[in-house]
């Protein structure tokens, strides 16, 4: 995930390059380092560097990395001939390379010939059964073909070996949510929280899933995780504030018959409501009326 400073730096560079101020190479390097997906810009500026033979030779050995980056960006924008040219250049330079083989497989994927791509990937996997990227590409292919259960199976097998890969856990969680398998999604989010306990996004997603699962215990746990998100983000996360209000009202509804008082944090609900109102007043004051009426209906 990209941090705030890196994001601002990226945007600044992007603006600079857009307005013709040079610095295209730094922009491309930053995009590559942060692994963000800005394929159109990468394609435009990358091609401008590659087609200019003087700038190309100025890059030295980095030229090939740029070819790879532009090839992937071209495939993302469906400019398949550009991608094919780049791959051809790379293949001439590195004939037996696994990376180029992977790019070929991706090109077949982009063209839509799934069977051939699958064949290419399997042959690459035979030589190198522990290549993480190829495993992930197979999962992506299954997902793109609409074969979600196949994707889940492949991803689970991948995670049996590479169980410390938190990006894969995140992908699996999102797939489970799309299929409404919330218990499994909760498990995946727990894994994410274990590996990165200070990232508020995981706490928030876990709380959302727990709230959706419902049931008194889950609702109370969800409230706790919304609270931890608020703590980790300094109270600025609107969704967590809403979550607290919703959880409190849901708990009150579920435990209407029983006399279960929430001794732990009686003021949290009202504080969250006040914080929300303050936030809306600042940022979207025309919607403040909607907010107050919604909160009032929750309190009852």
């Amino acid at each position: 995930m990209v941090s705030k400073t890196e994001e601002t730096q990226l945007n600044r560079l992007e603006n600079q390059v857009d307005n013709g101020g040079g610095g295209a190479w730094e922009y491309l390097c930053l995009v590559r380092k942060l692994k963000v997906r800005r394929s159109e810009k990468v394609l435009k500026y990358g091609l401008s560097i590659l087609n200019d033979s003087r700038k190309r030779s100025a890059l030295g050995p980095e030229e090939w990395t740029l070819y790879e980056q532009v090839a992937i960006a071209a495939m993302d924008c469906q400019c398949l001939d550009v991608a094919k040219d780049c791959i051809k250049v790379l293949q001439k330079k590195f004939p037996e390379s696994k990376r180029v083989g992977r790019l070929n497989g991706m090109l077949l994927e982009a063209k839509g010939s799934w069977a051939e791509a699958e064949k290419a990937y399997s042959s690459l996997l035979e030589d190198n059964p522990l290549d993480q990227v190829i495993h992930k590409r197979r999962v992506a292919m299954a997902k793109a073909q609409g074969n979600i259960s196949g994707a889940i199976e492949l991803l689970n097998k991948y995670l049996e070996i590479f169980m410390a890969d938190h990006e894969a856990w995140r992908e699996l969680a999102e797939i489970y949510i799309s299929l409404q398998m919330y218990k499994q999604a909760a498990f995946c989010y727990e894994e994410l929280i274990l590996s990165q306990p200070t990232v508020p996004m995981h706490h928030l997603a876990y709380a959302d899933v727990l709230y959706t699962l419902s049931g008194l215990e889950n609702l109370q746990t969800a409230k706790k995780y919304y609270a931890s998100t608020i703590d980790l983000t300094g109270g600025k996360n609107t969704r967590a504030l809403f979550g607290i209000c919703l959880c409190t009202s849901a708990i009150a509804q579920v435990s209407k018959g029983r006399n279960k008082e929430d001794k732990e944090s009686p003021e949290l609900h009202s504080l969250a409501a006040t914080a929300l109102e303050k936030d809306y007043k600042q940022r979207a004051s025309d919607k403040l009326g909607l907010l107050t009426s919604a909160l009032r209906s929750l309190k009852t």
Partner: protein
């Protein structure tokens, strides 16, 4: 008999400095040769999986307080279960690892190559030093030593009355051998093949590594007491919001 021998400066010019220079050059040569000869080691899937299991178990231990107690317990059972837990290594298997390492042809070849690249230059240089630079006093060690070191440090010098601080060039060779390690890590970066002593230590401890660390993780996991930190967070969130709202 603490008399001061005056050593010719020519010794410094023609013995000490050339010997050091030669050793540095040989070290650099060895580094490049080892780089060329290094075969690409295909990662064993079992070892990769074990590494990842260890990382996951470690994460579980570190952040155990962030997940609900039920999930923590279920995960702990998953890891340290007697029958098919991931971290559970039966006693018999632990011994096998080292035996397997020696019988595995690839790894044996690898170790032999590394050994050769270490031993041959060392032997050659040592023989060269002995042949050319023996029979005279090369240097004086600045601190006094006992008589026991005489046989080690003064090997070419056949006078028994010379102070032990005056050493032969053989000891200068050994001094360089161990001392240039720091210099090499500066010049060549972290990964250089001149780390003989470290390599020897690594070889003896290699076989046990995977199963031992699994066992260690299992013990660590068994010890952990789960103390759910989340209730505290509610209070902290309250405090944060109070500050924000006021």
């Amino acid at each position: 008999m603490a008399e001061d021998l005056v050593l010719d400066t020519a010794i410094r010019d023609w013995v000490l400095i050339p010997l050091s220079v030669v050793m540095v050059l040989i070290g650099i040569l060895r580094y490049f040769v080892s780089k060329l000869m290094r075969s690409f080691q295909v990662p064993d899937p079992k070892i990769v999986k074990e590494g990842q299991v260890i990382v996951r178990a470690r994460n579980l231990r570190a952040a155990a307080n962030f997940i609900p107690p039920k999930s923590f317990r279920s995960r702990r059972v998953y890891f340290s279960n007697e029958e098919n837990g991931l971290l559970f290594v039966p006693k018999g298997q632990a011994q096998n690892a080292q035996a397997q390492m020696f019988s595995d042809p690839n790894m044996a070849m690898d170790m032999m190559k590394k050994n050769l690249s270490m031993i041959i230059p060392q032997t050659l240089t040592f023989a060269w030093v002995n042949f050319f630079f023996s029979g005279f006093v090369a240097a004086k060690i600045p601190f006094p030593l006992t008589q026991r070191f005489r046989s080690m440090l003064q090997n070419g010098i056949d006078l028994s009355t010379v102070d032990v601080s005056y050493v032969s060039s053989r000891s200068w060779y050994f001094l360089n051998l161990f001392g240039l390690r720091g210099l090499f890590s500066l010049i060549l970066g972290e990964e250089n093949a001149t780390d003989d002593t470290q390599r020897m230590m690594q070889m003896s401890g290699f076989g046990f590594d995977p199963s031992k660390s699994l066992g260690a993780e299992k013990d660590g996991l068994d010890i952990v007491q789960h103390e759910w930190a989340l209730p505290k967070f509610e209070h902290r969130a309250e405090a944060v919001l109070k500050k924000l709202v006021s």
